[in-house]
């Protein structure tokens, strides 16, 4: 069975990264925006694992990095969701268009 080449994987991860970025900029729902950010972080994970496996299999730097990213992404999401909940309490909405008290 022939192996999937590295470029294919990188293509997926890069696409994922930019889909995430696009989602962050276009979506107006905060939870969706948070998901978009997670998408970006996951594309990085794919990158790390792929590089580690294909290019530098002798040590495990990339895999370790991935584990840390997953952990931190969880922490980040926890804080972000706490903030969003708090925001919901005062604004009664989680649409970013409603949170525009401060401009310029």
């Amino acid at each position: 069975m022939s192996e999937i080449p590295l470029t294919h994987i990188l293509f997926v991860s890069t696409a994922l990264f930019f889909i995430g970025m696009y989602g962050l900029f276009t979506r107006r729902n905060m939870i969706t925006m948070l998901m978009a950010v997670e998408l970006m972080l996951n594309s990085v994970n794919i990158n790390f694992v792929a590089f580690n496996k294909y290019l530098f299999p002798e040590n495990l730097d990339g895999v370790f990095f991935t584990i840390f990213i997953i952990t931190i992404a969880a922490a980040e999401a926890a804080v972000a969701i706490a903030i969003i909940i708090n925001l919901y309490r005062s604004h009664h909405s989680i649409d970013v268009e409603d949170a525009t008290e401060m401009k310029w």
Binding site: L24, L55, D61, F65, E76, N86, A99, M102, K103
Partner: protein, 470 residues
Amino acid sequence: MLNDFFILMKFELLPAVIFFVLLFIKVGTAELSNASIIRLANILLFINLVAGFFYNKDGGMFGDMFHTNALIVLQKSILNLGIFIVSLQAEAWLRTHKHVIEFYLLLLSSLMGMFFMISGANLLMFYLGLELATIPLAALANFDLEKRKSSEAAMKLIMSSAFSSGLLLFGISLMYGTTGTLGFAQLPALLNGSNLQVFAFVLLFAGFAFKISVVPFHLWTADVYEGAPVPVTSFLSVVSKGAFIFVFASVLYTVFKPLADTWYHMLFLLSVLTMVIGNLFALRQQNIKRMLAFSSIAQMGFILIGISGSSQAGTASAVYFVLVYVFTNLAAFGVVALVSAQTGKEDITDYKGFHATNPVLAWVLAIALFSLAGVPPTAGFFGKFFLIMAGAAKQNYWLITIAALNMIVSLYYYLNLVKALFMDANASPVPKITFGVYAKLAIVICIAGMVLSGLASVVYEYIYNLSTGF
């Protein structure tokens, strides 16, 4: 060996210890009053600051993931000083707050993150420290739980910091892909300036630019500064910015030295953009915190000028500027914090006739503003001067001229505020502000710092000599 561990990691361990002491008090049964918690926390932070000056050693640990040297010790001490002053100034606001201990817990974990980030000699360690430094900040920004602006600010902060760490991580992953290493020591030799590496570097750079709010990545700054409680804003603008600048300078000079041609041009362009846009937006602000936010963006532009210069003078001037900035900006925010805590007024027009009712605070704010504007004899002048000197070493006189023009623009809005403080009449000025011993101590430290760190040239000389390491 164990001894080494404690000495090398002293700066990280001390906040951890204080963190746990406060945590035990929180979960314990004893009900301490706010006043005694604040007193305890300030004493501990003071011990933390003082302890930083003794028994320091150069060295690395954890298979070269962590390193420390005299310059890093100095940088950490500057941050310690900053957090101590912030904590002193926070007293007026925390006195009646329900969650005093949590404030300190978040503050300390953020500080610990910054220390790990500064000491990190590996992209992984650096990234962990960075996240530990930023995530608590978002929670801190939301610390006025019932205020709409506060949660909005926190939301903007966490979203933009998540986005920026996404960029940063993608850059790191590509950097790893092209070099196969994450260690700062190994990276420079493997950088060859290939397109992919430059792309990775640009992403990394953008991640940094977000954190130190360089135009065009500055959009979150003003909103977060305005919405967050004032002590948090001052922490964000001084301590957190300072930490990122330290790391930024050292990463550029040590790790990305081979790409110097690339980043010199980027720095040049971004510093001009940052100064111009920061100043132009500062001109039209009505809220004093927003004005200080945009002015701090403009100051970042000046720091970039310094960093774009040669490594020794660049590092030294950036570190020196941060030191001066700690005193200066905290003096300004200290006054704003007092006024905001007691009257809730934050508009520039509210400050009209401030001198008539609060002469001491008016003078403090005026000196701080002159220092921010870079007018002698304040330390701010020397800070800007050294930055410009470092940048001028490349004989780029356009950059200096643009910087000088920007100083004039910035002087205009600082002077406008000074004018409001001293000269404009106001039917209902800010009433007489009473301030306790904490705020007084903070003001004395800031004023002494603003005057002495400029005139006493030994300070700069000391930093300059430490900066030879690169």
